[in-house]
Symmetry: C2
Amino acid sequence: MTRALILGGGMVGSAMAMDLARDADFAVTVADRDPDALDRLTRAYGVSTERADLGDPAEIHRLAAQADIVLGALSSAMGMQTLRTVIETRTPYVDISFMAEDPLTLRDEARAAGVPIVVDCGVAPGTSNMIAGYAVAQLDPCEELEIFVGGVPAQRRWPFEFKVGFAPIDVIEEYTRPARVVEHGQVVTYPALSGIEHVDIEGLGTLEAFNTDGLRTLAQTLDVPTMREKTMRYPGHADKMRVLRECGFFCEEPLDIDGVQVSPLSVTAKLLFPMWTYEDGEVDLTVLQVTARGKKDGQDTTLRWDMIDRYDPATGFRSMSRTTGFPATVVARLIAADRFTEPGLHPPEVLGAKPGLLDEILEALAQRGIEYRFSAS
Amino acid sequence: MTRALILGGGMVGSAMAMDLARDADFAVTVADRDPDALDRLTRAYGVSTERADLGDPAEIHRLAAQADIVLGALSSAMGMQTLRTVIETRTPYVDISFMAEDPLTLRDEARAAGVPIVVDCGVAPGTSNMIAGYAVAQLDPCEELEIFVGGVPAQRRWPFEFKVGFAPIDVIEEYTRPARVVEHGQVVTYPALSGIEHVDIEGLGTLEAFNTDGLRTLAQTLDVPTMREKTMRYPGHADKMRVLRECGFFCEEPLDIDGVQVSPLSVTAKLLFPMWTYEDGEVDLTVLQVTARGKKDGQDTTLRWDMIDRYDPATGFRSMSRTTGFPATVVARLIAADRFTEPGLHPPEVLGAKPGLLDEILEALAQRGIEYRFSAS
């Protein structure tokens, strides 16, 4: 029996709890500050719960001491501090928080802790990194790597045709932070929302893809001369966001409005975020495309993975929660079963490069309804 | 010698001052609260000036007592109060202020004053009304009247491709106030910014035209079963404005932002209005199209007037100031010369309906560089 501690009982933490609770090999505890969320989880999945302020490192220490493995499902703002604290507890950790900081700066601490720590283990970053790690191991050389990912509502509503399955402020961050891409082996930056192109998605129609800062660890860990990550939305979304951004509506810097200091972003958030929030039961879609180009046995080869996933009415979980939470529970199982034991801090591309591991992970995701279609040409 | 008093020394008041000062028959005084503006006017055109708070009716009384005719070039917010006060002084008045209130409600007071009072006497409303009044007098019946008007910068700059030659808050008002149009003889309303269509302008290219609430007095004074007024901008402008409006960025109603009450419009104004402000010497364009359809001698007839005007480098006056200010100075001359003497409150369509008057007015505007091209078919 593996004692699993899930940090955070939000949408993604709940999907993790549901998935692990179905498994007789796991005893699941979810920690959160919100007693209502915890009550719901106990009733729905029979998991144990701990009410705790996870912003307090002492609480993380207390809870991790009773766990064999920890899964992180906290907000991006809490990600780095939580990672540092869990490493101190020397407990294996699988985290999905999309932290702004570079987790690889904690490599030495993680190695010293002597347990496996997997970060960025959601969908993208996450499964996309595993696929990238696999593709680079398959090709010799891998010349180009392209990751297109997006979450959109099934129902397109003017003007933005967009809702978000995680914290909307993190979307604004995606739309403002300069996008790092790799060209000719060098990291170069483009403005976010630039480089718009159209992508036809089988079964969905046309989306647009634009530069966002999503390569993260891949830019450091993989030796591929051309790498880019783009975010996908329904066509027209990026231009509207660019208008708002370039006019200053995303600025945190306060303006003086008749003697009162007001951040334009705070007003924008108040106006837009309610429009960007999914209704209960509303259908969302997650789309991921990873394309790797290079040589295999001296031949030009393109490896391609396509995933399109949608809201699951059976469990009531949105696609974004499932595609983000399940890679982490799948990897937690691999660690619990000693299928992945390497001590230290690992981005998911490390797992993808291990022989056989990607197939096993994608097979486990398929069992959970998330299907990656592979093609080689 | 006619003593003319110009209320307001802004861009339009300055254009009026320049135009009347060239005329040996006029002694011109400009009143404004800004001494710098008055200094510039004295140096440039040799006019007399009076520093005065024109929000104070007593000041209007004091100044009008020394004038034979008054020209109004104040902001829309001050328009109605000033009109009421000038009527009390029993001085002939020609006003261009785009007041939100209905000036026709002061008809009785104006008739009792026994002098001619002409309101809405700019470009549109203004010249457009004169043309409309003329067209309705020519056709029997006039079945349809269409007024398309717009002011845009010559240089199109993303995202709005727009600047404004008057108070930008009045533009937001145009984009939010429901647009009254006449259909089947009934006044009906459409949302502002609706009904977008493309219009090809000879020598300029394609603009878009959309519903705004610009018919004003025409909806009451003319018996035409179909009347509409649309505002023109470069294509794409209206949709961007609709996004901002529908998201709430034009709302005056305050939001609670972390305990502080903030009107979204005040933030939007702070961000956008600097982008909408012309640089010194920057070229603006004014475009006006008036089309009247009906019968003449029993034959289907279309009367059409086209005007395109631009910044005048010789005088440094933008087109919007000239096309707005000169109709008022031309009408002031007609009143001073006893060519128009009818006591009471008149919208400009009344002048257009007088035999010979429209030709005389358009000829005077042409002498000032503002050319209306007429065609009948």
